[in-house]
């Protein structure tokens, strides 16, 4: 009898709490409804798929609202391990897609039919050369380039100075080898090579496509030939040159005893502490290197050489491109919300606080030439320099979603010594032949 009473008491308390909770949320929705009626307040949402800038974006959203009082921006984060594509698919399926969606370049073509055409936006003319291409479909600008990211061989200047290596003189694979030897001789490991599949597959191996020739559209053409099975990689000069360089990296890798065991954070630590001279990575790694910095912020990029002829395409250029694009949804957001979303994007490019958010708070290299703020971090600065010197090759953005995973796995096998150049070439060729 007593037990039953206790049980019913617990249930009553639970039901009461949940009722109160329910009442609480109901009241809130009623309030916002009233607000919309009176001062035409617009609420927009933005999907953020760049975890490291989440807190900064949320702060920026608040600043934006103080400057535009009737627009509130809610930032929707995405969990680690969930691809932007998965998140946006589920959101469209649920019918609650965000006003602004930050996606990877190769997702854009799939979602473009749900986005607004942004070709007439103010910032289009201020975008740096080539930065809009990956986010455009059929010549129409369908998305906004958030930031430029670039990658190459990051060097620790303190280490190089001690080894008497001038990074600007490294123009060929042989030069690189010599530089490595000098660093080794000065008592420091030449470099650290990260084994992550995304690093090898999406960043290293893609030089294969981009260095084929200077002509516009050459990478896409080359991929077309790969898909048709017309390419024999073992006779391709770029492939062979690239793999020779990779062998050099392999041989001088600090982790060469156990090449697959390397971890991202550890590599940043090694470079920062001066225990390695070079690291193949991108400018997003600066916050991780900074934590261990012993070189007083003196770091920079050199391109990855692919041949022994300094004049060859790719030897003196760094790869850089916009890594995230933001689209404005027209399916689940009304015209007021779309306009508010476009305003936010404009704010990022033209307002003082917007530019401050991009460059200073989020440490991004903006894709717009009108933004004159000085880039404070050494890696961003280096990339920006290459861009200004017109020594940047736009990163290819139309790779299939699983390219980095599949090709990356083949590269890992090679790195581990379990595969040879011939097998790797066949793997890559087969991957493209089987792509739908």
């Amino acid at each position: 009898m007593k037990r039953r009473k206790i049980l019913s008491l617990i249930i009553t308390v639970l039901l009461a709490t949940s009722l109160l909770a329910g009442c609480g949320t109901k009241a809130k929705t009623d309030d916002t409804k009233a607000a919309i009626a009176t001062d035409k307040a617009v609420k927009i949402t933005m999907l953020n798929t760049k975890g490291e800038i989440l807190t900064q974006l949320e702060a920026a959203a608040k600043v934006f609202t103080t400057e535009n009082p009737n627009i509130t921006v809610e930032i929707i984060p995405v969990a680690a391990g969930v691809s932007p594509f998965q998140k946006i698919s589920t959101m469209y399926a649920a019918g609650n897609a965000p006003t602004l969606a930050m996606l990877d370049p190769n997702d854009i073509p799939k979602v473009a039919d749900k986005f607004a055409d942004l070709s007439a936006e103010k910032w289009v003319k201020d975008a740096s050369a080539g930065t809009l291409d990956a986010g455009s479909v059929n010549g129409k600008v369908m998305s906004f380039p958030l930031a430029i990211e670039g990658y190459g061989l990051i060097y620790n200047k303190a280490v190089l100075d001690k080894a008497k290596v001038d990074p600007a003189t490294i123009k060929t694979t042989k030069d690189l080898e010599a530089a490595f030897a000098k660093v080794q001789a000065s008592g420091v490991a030449p470099m650290v090579l990260s084994p992550m599949d995304w690093s090898l597959g999406a960043h290293f191996l893609t030089s294969l496509y981009m260095d084929q020739s200077k002509e516009a559209g050459a990478p896409e053409k080359f991929i077309g030939e790969l898909k048709a099975g017309k390419v024999d990689l073992s006779t391709n000069t770029v492939f062979n040159g690239l793999m020779t360089t990779f062998d050099v990296l392999k041989a001088n890798n600090l982790d060469k005893k156990s090449p697959l065991a390397g971890v991202y954070e550890k590599a940043a630590e090694r470079l920062g502490k001066g225990e390695a001279g070079f690291w193949f990575m991108g400018n997003w790694a600066w916050p991780d290197i900074k934590k261990f910095d012993t070189a007083n912020g003196q770091y920079g990029f050199i391109p990855v050489p692919v041949s022994n002829n300094a004049a060859d395409y790719g030897n003196s250029q760094i790869y850089a491109g916009s890594s995230k694009f933001i689209g404005v949804d027209i399916k689940n957001n009304d015209t007021d919300q779309q306009a508010a979303g476009k305003k936010f994007l404009e704010w990022l490019v033209y307002s003082e606080s917007g530019q401050d958010t991009l460059v200073n708070k989020c440490s991004l290299v903006p894709a717009f030439s009108n933004i004159k703020l000085e880039i404070k971090d050494p890696l961003g600065k280096s990339i920006n320099q290459y861009l200004t010197d017109k020594r940047a090759i736009p990163t290819i953005a139309t790779l299939p979603g699983d390219h980095w995973a599949q090709v990356g796995a083949s590269m890992q096998k090679y790195l581990d010594g379990k595969s040879d150049k011939k097998a790797l070439a066949t793997d890559i060729q087969n991957y493209w032949k089987n792509i739908k």
């Binding site: 680690a80 391990g81 691809s83 594509f85 998965q86 946006i88 698919s89 469209y92 399926a93 799939k110 979602v111 039919d113 749900k114 599949d197 156990s258 090449p259 697959l260 065991a261 971890v263 299939p400 979603g401 699983d402 995973a405 599949q406 796995a409 083949s410 890992q412 096998k413 581990d416 379990k418 739908k436």
Partner: protein
């Protein structure tokens, strides 16, 4: 309470006792599932506005996907290893921890904690154990078995997955076995002791048969958890080294969202479901027949 034998009486009884459960169950699991099955027969890629009926095309693609079948085989071995080891350890732990040892509760809570850690942190910890701690031990104590990171070798990586899974789930299964042990009526055990039966005989003739419901549940759960393992896979090996430890759930997920072939991914998920359902149904019906009613 009315006539329970009449149709309306039966209907009333059913609605009161099983109504809410059945309704929620049907609307949350079954209807979306049927809809999902329907989608596998269309060309829907997860995003487009329209889709057209394409019959069995997706399923044919599944049969052609050799990686799916290799992964399935690999998963089979994984399931075999984890089910046997996890249940053995869980059962023994539960047995020991229901004999009235001192501090039983603390032990039970302790064995349960692995289940609380998941995701990235789980991956970080265990990657560190396999790549750094064991390697350190291997190098300094000259044990070649541990000298290179287990995660870098396809065969050893398999065992890292098994070890972490056993670590995570033995506590979970232990709890279910504990409840099972507690359900064995103490009076029957006492009567048997008075009759002169020793520990071993008691186990064989009384405890084991009365524990079969626990076996049903635990075997079922470990089979299901094994086949559907994803988080540990992602966090610990990520399918590596170079895709040699990709369990089937990861393959299916990647098919749908990484290769962005949603239709094929869904079809694979369904085929996986049919296979696992068959295995577990056989298991459940066998063990259910062995259950004794008091």
């Amino acid at each position: 309470m009315g006539n329970e034998k009449s149709f309306w009486g039966k209907f009333k009884t059913f609605s009161i006792y099983a109504g809410p459960s059945t309704f929620a169950f049907l609307t949350v699991m079954i209807i979306p599932f049927i809809y999902g099955v329907y989608l596998t027969f269309t060309s829907w890629d997860g995003l487009s506005e329209i889709h057209k009926f394409i019959g069995f095309e997706n399923y044919i693609a599944v049969f052609k996907d050799t990686e799916f079948w290799t992964s399935l085989g690999f998963t089979g071995w994984y399931v075999l290893a984890t089910v046997i080891i996890t249940n053995a350890i869980a059962f023994l732990l539960a047995y020991v921890l229901t004999t009235g040892m001192k501090g039983q509760n603390i032990y039970r809570a302790g064995f349960f904690t692995p289940n609380l850690i998941g995701g990235i942190i789980l991956g970080f910890i265990w990657k560190f154990v396999f790549s750094n701690i064991l390697v350190y031990i291997g190098e300094n104590f000259n044990l070649p078995f541990f000298e290179t990171s287990w995660l870098a070798d396809p065969k050893k990586a398999f065992w890292t997955l098994v070890i972490v899974a056993v670590w995570q789930y033995s506590g979970y299964m232990m709890i279910i076995y504990v409840a099972g042990f507690m359900n064995v009526p103490k009076d029957i055990l006492e009567a048997a002791s008075i009759d002169g039966a020793n520990g071993f005989k008691k186990m064989k003739s009384i405890i084991l048969p009365m524990m079969i419901p626990s076996f049903t549940v635990c075997l079922f759960l470990s089979l299901q958890r094994g086949f559907m393992a994803y988080e540990v896979n992602l966090a610990l090996t990520g399918g590596g080294p170079y895709k040699t430890t990709e369990l089937i759930s990861m393959h299916v997920y990647n098919k749908a969202f990484l290769s962005q072939q949603y239709g094929v991914g869904q079809a694979e998920a369904l085929i996986l479901f049919i296979i696992v359902a068959t295995v577990t149904l056989i298991q459940v019906s066998i063990t259910k027949k062995m259950e004794v009613e008091a």
